[in-house]
C-alpha cells in the first residue's frame, strides 16, 4: 500500500506549493504545540500544588481549636479554646467507628542533635495510626507503636532530611536505626526512618509517641489536633460526620454555634474533592482550547486538500480512465492529508516537549513543579491528529471520487 509510488504522490502534492503547505502545516504544528505546552503547564501546576499540600492522605478529617470570637454562655469573646485528653476521649467514644485515629501535639523548631551536629526540625507527637493517615513511608526500622504510647517510650522516627543533615555522609537508614539522638535536650532512640517523596516539609520532621511528647514537651493534657481517617466513607458521609462532630464539639467546648474559629473540623475529603474539580476543570479547559486550535488546523488541511483536488481534477480523471478505483483515489487523498498532519503534528509535539524540558529547571516554585508531557497525552494527541486528518480528508476525497472521467477529460 505505502510503496514508492504512494510516497512520490504524497511528496509531489506536499511540495508542489511549499508556501501553502507550510502555512497549513504551521497551523497544525501550532495547535499541537499549544495543546502540549498548556497540558504540560497544567501538569506542572498540579504537581506543584500536590507537593505543597498533598502530603497527607485525602481521606481524613482534622479537629483543631483556636480563639473563639463570640461570647457564649457567659464566656468572654476572644478566648483560647483547648481540647483536653478528656474531651478527646469523649469525642472518640461518641463516634460510631473510625478506621484510623491519631492525636497530635506539635513543637515547631525543635532542636535535634546527633553527636556534634544539630538542627531545627518539626517535632510531632502522634499515635500509631498516623502512619496510615499521613501515608508515612517508613524506609527502615518501624513506626511509633501502641506499646510506645502505653509506656511513654522515648523513641523517634526521623525524616530523610534529618538523617541527611545530622548523620555522617553515606549513613543508610538501616545504620541510623538504633542511634541515640537528643530531642529538645532529651535522649531518644531512633527506631525508624521515613522518606516522603511528595513533600518538601515532611522530611524535616521527627515523629515521637503522642504520650511521650505530651508529657515531656507540653506540660499539659492539651491535644493540638486530632486526625481521623475516614477510610472508604463517601464524600457525603464525611460531610455529615463533619457537621455533626462540629456541633458536638462546640457544645462540649462551649463555643457559639456561629463561631468559626473556636473549634473546627477540617474535612480533607472536601479539599481533595475541590482540588480534583479544579484540576479536572483545568485539564478540560486545556483540552478544549487545544482541540479548537487543532480543529482550526484541520480545516486548513481540508482546505488545502480541496484545492489540491480541484487542481488535479483532470489528473484524477486520467487515473480513473487508466483503471484507478474510487477506493484508491480516496486512499491517496487521505494519505496525503494524514501525512501532512502527522509531520506537522510531530513538529509541534517535539517543539512543545522541547520547550517544556527547556524551561522546567527555571520554573520551580511552591505551586509549580516539573512541567512535562506525559506519554499518554502525547499518544492521545497523535491519535486525535490522525482522526482529524482522516476527517478533514473525507470531504475533498469524496469530491475527487465524484469526478467523472468524462468531465475531467473534456477538453476546454
Amino acid at each position: 500500500m505505502m510503496d514508492r509510488d504512494t510516497w512520490l504522490e504524497i511528496f509531489h502534492t506536499v511540495l508542489s506549493n511549499p508556501l501553502r503547505t507550510g502555512l497549513t502545516g504551521l497551523s497544525i504544528a501550532l495547535g499541537i504545540f499549544i495543546l502540549v505546552v498548556m497540558q504540560g503547564l497544567g501538569a506542572g501546576l498540579e504537581t506543584g500544588v500536590k507537593q505543597t499540600f498533598g502530603d497527607d492522605a485525602a481521606n481524613l478529617m482534622e479537629v483543631e481549636t483556636g480563639n473563639a470570637q463570640l461570647a457564649f454562655r457567659g464566656r468572654k469573646p476572644n478566648r483560647r479554646v483547648e481540647l483536653h485528653n478528656a474531651d478527646e476521649q469523649a469525642m472518640r467514644s461518641q463516634m460510631d467507628s473510625v478506621p484510623a485515629w491519631s492525636r497530635l501535639v506539635y513543637r515547631w523548631g525543635s532542636t535535634v542533635r546527633y553527636g556534634n551536629e544539630q538542627g531545627s526540625y518539626g517535632l510531632r507527637g502522634v499515635d500509631p495510626d498516623q502512619r496510615e493517615i499521613g501515608q508515612v513511608n517508613v524506609t527502615a526500622g518501624r513506626f511509633v507503636s501502641d506499646r510506645d504510647i502505653d509506656q511513654r517510650r522515648k523513641v523517634a522516627v526521623i525524616g530523610g532530611q534529618v538523617l541527611a543533615d545530622l548523620f555522617p555522609r553515606g549513613t543508610t537508614p538501616e545504620q541510623a536505626v538504633g542511634s541515640l539522638i537528643q530531642v529538645r535536650g532529651i535522649q531518644f532512640a531512633v527506631v525508624g526512618t521515613f522518606n516522603q517523596t511528595g513533600s518538601r516539609w515532611e522530611n524535616r520532621s521527627v515523629y515521637v509517641p503522642f504520650s511521650t511528647a505530651q508529657k515531656l514537651f507540653s506540660n499539659s493534657d492539651v491535644v493540638s489536633r486530632v486526625a481521623i481517617g475516614t477510610g472508604e466513607a463517601s464524600i457525603d458521609d464525611t460531610r455529615e460526620t463533619t457537621t455533626s462532630l462540629t456541633g458536638w464539639l462546640k457544645d462540649r467546648l462551649v463555643v457559639h454555634p456561629d463561631d468559626a474559629e473556636g473549634v473546627w473540623v477540617d474535612n480533607r475529603n472536601e479539599q481533595a474533592e475541590m482540588y480534583r474539580q479544579i484540576f479536572g476543570g483545568i485539564r478540560l479547559f486545556v483540552w478544549f482550547v487545544g482541540m479548537m486550535t487543532l480543529l482550526a488546523g484541520a480545516m486548513g488541511v481540508a482546505n488545502i486538500m480541496a484545492i489540491v483536488v480541484r487542481e488535479r481534477t483532470k489528473e484524477i480523471g486520467v487515473r480513473k480512465a487508466l483503471g484507478a478505483t474510487s477506493g484508491s483515489i480516496v486512499a491517496q487523498i487521505s494519505q496525503e492529508a494524514v501525512f501532512l498532519m502527522l509531520i506537522s503534528g510531530c513538529i509541534g509535539l517535539l517543539a512543545g516537549t522541547w520547550l517544556l524540558q527547556g524551561i522546567a529547571p527555571f520554573v520551580e516554585h511552591d505551586f509549580f513543579s516539573n512541567p512535562r508531557v506525559d506519554f499518554r497525552s502525547a499518544l492521545l494527541a497523535l491519535g486525535v491528529l490522525i482522526f482529524v486528518g482522516v476527517i478533514s480528508a473525507i470531504g475533498p476525497a469524496l469530491r475527487a471520487v465524484s469526478i467523472r472521467p468524462v468531465e475531467a477529460l473534456r477538453d476546454e
Partner: protein, 223 residues
C-alpha cells in the same frame, strides 16, 4: 469485438433533457481500425465515452469482447477499462510530475503489478514507440508528438483488446500527425482494434472504415 444496439443517452441540464445519442447500432470487428467522424455536437465524444466505459447509457445494449456492459458498477467499469481498453487523448493527459517511464507504467500500478516488472514492461513499450532514450524525461521536456507516443505506449502497456483514441492528432502538426497515425496503424496490424474519433478527413481516410455521426445517429458507413 464491439456490439452496440439502440444505444440512447440523454444529459440532464437543469430541467431540460438533451438527447445526445438517439439509438446507435453498430458493430466493430476484432482487428478493425475505425474512424468516428462528425461535427461538434454530433455525439461522437459521448459515443467514445460510452465505448470507453467512462460514461453510462440510458437504453440499449453494449457487448464488449463478448461481455455485456449494461449497468456496470463504477468498480466493475474500472476493472473492464483496465483489462480491455486503452485510451489516447487529444491533450495527451500525461501526469506532469511523472517521468515518461512512470506515466507508461501507471496502468500496471492499478493492476497491482510489482514495480520492477512495471518498469521493465514500460521500458519495452517506450522502445516500441521509439522513445527509450526519453524514459527519464518529464512530459514538459518533450514535444507534442513525443508526448502522444508516450500516451500510446501507456495505452498499450496493459495489453488491451481495444484502443480508443479521442482526436489523437488534434494538437499536432501534419507531419507529427502522420507519424502518430503510422504508429496506430502499426499497432492495428498486430491485431488490436482501434477506434479513432476525429474531425479530420485525412486522418479518417487512413482508417478501414468511417462511422459518420449526425445529430446522435449514424449517417452511413463506407468501406
Amino acid at each position: 469485438m464491439i456490439e452496440l444496439k439502440s444505444i440512447r443517452k440523454a444529459y440532464q441540464t437543469g430541467s431540460q433533457s438533451l438527447t445526445v445519442l438517439k439509438g446507435i447500432d453498430c458493430t466493430i470487428e476484432e482487428g478493425e481500425l475505425v474512424a468516428i467522424m462528425g461535427s461538434s455536437g454530433s455525439g461522437k465524444s459521448t459515443l467514445l465515452n460510452v465505448l470507453g466505459l467512462l460514461d453510462d447509457f440510458d437504453e440499449g445494449s453494449y457487448v464488449l469482447n463478448g461481455q455485456n456492459m449494461d449497468g456496470l458498477s463504477e468498480k466493475a467499469a474500472a476493472r473492464y477499462r483496465s483489462d480491455f481498453l486503452g485510451f489516447v487523448f487529444q491533450s495527451f493527459n500525461l501526469i506532469s510530475y511523472k517521468t515518461a517511464l512512470e506515466n507508461v507504467a501507471l496502468p500496471l500500478y492499478y493492476q497491482g503489478v510489482p514495480r520492477k516488472e512495471r518498469q521493465a514492461r514500460a521500458l519495452s513499450f517506450l522502445t516500441k514507440v521509439g522513445l527509450a532514450d526519453w524514459a527519464e524525461h518529464l512530459p514538459n521536456q518533450m514535444s507534442g508528438g513525443q508526448k502522444q507516443r508516450v500516451a500510446i505506449a501507456r495505452a498499450l502497456i496493459a495489453n488491451p483488446s481495444v484502443i480508443l483514441a479521442d482526436e489523437p492528432t488534434g494538437a499536432l502538426d501534419s507531419v507529427t500527425s502522420d507519424e502518430v497515425m503510422a504508429l496506430l496503424k502499426e499497432i492495428n496490424s498486430e491485431g488490436i482494434t482501434i477506434v479513432v474519433v476525429t474531425h479530420e478527413n485525412e486522418i479518417a481516410n487512413q482508417c478501414d472504415r468511417i462511422i459518420r455521426l449526425k445529430d446522435g445517429r449514424i449517417e452511413g458507413a463506407n468501406a
